[in-house]
Amino acid sequence: MTGAALGKDLTGLEYLSPDQIRLILDTAEPFKEVSERPIKKVPALRGKTIVNLFFEASTRTRISFEFAEKRLSADTVNVAAQGSSVSKGETLVDTAKNLEAMRIDMVVIRHGSSGAAQFLGQRIRSNVINAGDGKHEHPTQGLLDLLTLRDRFGRIAGLKVAIVGDVLHSRVARSNIWGLTKLGAEVAVCGPASLMPRNVHELGVTIIPRIEDAIQWADALNILRLQLERMQGGFIPSLREYNRVFGVTTERLARAPKELVILHPGPMNRGVEIDSDVADGPHSVILPQVTNGVAVRMAVLYLLAGGSPDWAGAAGKGEDH
């Protein structure tokens, strides 16, 4: 266990060891059960104050973090960029330092700029958790995808996972690639050439240009949301065109040699990157992903709140009866 402690912040899966990732997934297991209890709450983080600092719109991730925090008995405050001093031009660090002056313990941050979470983590004492920063990472989404795959297959090592869609702009893709490859899965990316990052193969992934081939190859598809605002950027000609060439449809899946497990980080554009029949089909784990999101975030909050990085050594002992 030694060396598996998480340190102060969670900014990306790139910076975690395979052992640290496994520690979070293993810790998430018992937290699933907490959400099934009659009183869905444990006192583990009683007295901790957590600020959810969201500079970008988010429904699911913010709510998921908030549930995780409340189920651990932390006190939470939500700050949205709109209506706060941020819209008056206050810098990120000033905002955070002011919050810290009110004696907070943790910040969950979503920000449009890649690297914002790390930048903040280096400048404040509180624990910082990245809830999505620009095109960089969305580590808790990556972790919940890993947990959902592990639930379904019993393992990550050796799995073939194809990430489909707008990989270029996707922090979800990047966190998945880091997490999956660190735990020994094979990863391929599939999507329009205009939405593939240059040098993506340097991350240890294969490029499969055609969705039909990706479906032949994979055990699971992680279908990214086509960010509709990309249309304006001229990355794809039209939504209909995208659906025709890259949409995951029942017809395409019918030709797969095996049943594929379907993941999607949400929110979905039904009829664009994914057909409704597929999203609601028997092999879709899209709602289990949402359930696991709360458990994974509880695990991350719990592990980071423990603080001292040398706790791993003490863990075996303290059986104080």
């Binding site: 810790t27 018992p30 709450k41 444990v42 709140a305 423990g306 009866h321």
Partner: protein, 180 residues
Amino acid sequence: MPIRTQLLDDRAIGRALARMASEIVERCGGTESLVLVGIQRRGVELAARLQRLIERAEGSRVPVGKLDITLYRDDLQTVGPRPVVGETSLPDLDGRAVVIVDDVLYTGRTVRAALDECADFGRPRRILLCVLVDRGGRELPIQADIIGSRAATVPGDRVDVFVAELDGRDAVELVRGEPK
């Protein structure tokens, strides 16, 4: 050099558990509304054994639950999070006579956490505490109702309980003089 002394061997543990099983039934006036709740980890094994002993004597199988108190501890700040939190699965506790089963009673902090956690699962009619070894040294006003054995210890001592299911043998041992 730390000195290791055996307090109970397998036969002594067997006799203690048999007596504890009958005491549980006696104290609760039968097995009607009885629920055994073992505290992770060795309390879980002991609760399962008590269940079998009660079944043998009374002919009825009382429900058994598992409780992991990790998330109810009061020392997250000082010792940090436990890497592995065990399973919690409890039967209906409302109106039941709940017997909390643990291997060793020492400071009482584990039991305090277990009482808080049970309260979040239901409202038992009463709660009893049953331990294999009471080693003294309480830091909270908590006492056991049913005790397998008492051990005189000093701070710094450690009481190790071994159960066949997890450790391959049954024994209770006192370890004294271990370097801090």
